[in-house]
Symmetry: D3
């Protein structure tokens, strides 16, 4: 499939697989993504990894299962996703999951507090390791 995709300057490694280029297996995943998310758009992430239908299917099934509301609601999960992505400096994930969190109800104030916690946690993580702090007895089971 990769060989069929015309390569341009705005492409991912292997390019993006658009719906009308996709195999039935890939289309089935795209359809489920759009139905689950109630949208008619599939993000570039899925179109890029669609070059590997096995990874596409497994990743989507996992994301779908994990991100659904459960003991934690969908908004909290999206904010946790952003927290991880910001810590890892993954620009694509920061952009897409910040958008998803807003769609799930994150307000400007919630975003501001999310960033403040993420920043502070990254700071104290290093103070703890730099000062080589031993874990308190009561935190060891």
């Amino acid at each position: 499939m990769a060989g069929d995709v015309p390569k341009g300057t705005d492409m991912a490694t292997l390019g993006l697989i658009e719906y009308d280029q996709a195999s039935p297996e890939v289309r089935a995943v795209y359809d489920d993504i759009m139905a689950t998310r109630k949208t008619d758009r599939v993000n570039n992430f899925w179109k890029a990894i669609a070059h590997d239908p096995t990874t596409l299917r497994r990743t989507w099934q996992s994301v779908k299962e994990i991100m659904d509301s459960g003991a934690l609601d969908a908004l909290t999960k999206e904010m946790i996703y952003v927290a991880v992505s910001v810590t890892n400096q993954c620009n694509y994930c920061i952009a897409s999951h910040s958008a998803a969190a807003r769609k799930a109800g994150m307000t400007d104030s919630m975003f501001a507090e999310l960033m403040a916690v993420v920043g502070m946690a990254n700071e104290t993580n290093r103070l703890a390791s730099g000062y080589q702090v031993e874990i308190d007895e009561q935190f060891k089971t």
Copy 2:
């Protein structure tokens, strides 16, 4: 102060400053930590960075301000803290903030979902960068 601390095998870089060894400036922070958290114990983290009273005071003030309930509740903030600490592999912070999150109401089910999201986000962060996915136009505004 560091010079007064008897060094043993279980010490942080500079050792821990216990309450009765602490200067009035450090004691005032310890007192505020215990009053704010409604506990009679100060974690090793604070006792370790107390060797630098300026950092102790500033870090505590920041943590106190940031972690208080606001647009996000205290439990959500503690789980975000755990998410960052796990991503950074900071063992001390994982232990102490998992305990803090449980104290704030995190159940086993919530912990399980938190871990699942953190794991998946760390995975897709790398798929996004490895496939060199371009940010979708609609996420760029």
Copy 3:
């Protein structure tokens, strides 16, 4: 053992779920791990995440699917696993996957070269970002 451990609000870990304590759902995964890996032992990793049977099942299915020989052989995959774990400083994963790689045929010489590549890649990653090197035109398609 998890059930035997008195848990308090300060407790961080959940303990390990041994086979004879496990639910049928968890035992089924343990059985498949032992059968697939031709061993009578289940690593602590699985016994720890067994507190969340959903994550246990999904993670094992993914690992089983991904780590099996395909376009890349099992040894190469284990060495890539080690490369990631070393880069992330995950001590548990370094220990367990180095052992797995050796079991799959990694010699001392292969380990030595693996470490050399991982070290050098971590170095040049930072030289590239520190010197703010632009991606070459020919790598952009």
Copy 4:
């Protein structure tokens, strides 16, 4: 071009040193890079760090020594390089070493499996640390 670029105190990058601007010392490294890699092109990475001929020489000598076929073949080493670069989110290195791996024989299927392993390892690294899993006795020598 570096010499032609008017530099101010706000300037971050030093520009690239092209062959015809380069000192004999730098040219000797460029010549060896092109001869070793059987190409007439020197990547931007080398042209950027050429501002420090000592680092250029040492880094090239190390890369040349490490990446040559030995107990591990050149393709395996390039894929390990990509695994590290993806984990670190180094965009330059992902682009250049993915290209190098393809040149060394990495197929689309191999790339797909490489990404799957890197993604999964990044996920389980965090599950291991988040669940605070103790290293199994048999993995401790």
Copy 5:
């Protein structure tokens, strides 16, 4: 405030708050930044986080307190900032703090040595963890 900012393709998440759009509280911080740094320009970083005046104020106060000359001079502190930013692959921070370090007196030779140390430390960090090196007894007190 965010709602008032016209969004364009080159914007941060919430856009940038320019001086003449800013509230008195935000302007006071901008004024202090310009006075402290003896410049008539406020970097995009501050204009972006100004959407959260609390974080803006706290972060600026902390940065101002920490980066001032003390036991370590301002140039050394800026180089340490660059070392962290390069290790984390934070492109914005690399660009802005490299510029700040140059303004504080960092020469090309100092930059070259800084990069060499950062690169080498990132390499040996992984050799140490990959070889699972135990901490020497004399470093444990």
Copy 6:
């Protein structure tokens, strides 16, 4: 000791190569380490990687060349090493390079300021990426 340790397929570490077990090639590096550092002790790091004499030699030569006083003095370099190691959460490297920095003259006050800068840089790195701040025009060459 490595030779004395019965090794099985599950074994991860290779043990340490002590001086009197070492080959002439390894001893020559140990001798140079002790002579250069004016000590009669070789750190565990070198004894661990000595299982790969090529990596031992190359790493020592690079470290020796890079860490020597130049445009930056030896103490500044050691502190930069600590900054990187703390950011990466490499416990071995934090312990050994904090000791080296102290030996090179780092006082408690300098250590405290080093930690404060490292913590703050790790925080603002994430605020910059989380708010998706664009690089200021004046920082782009």
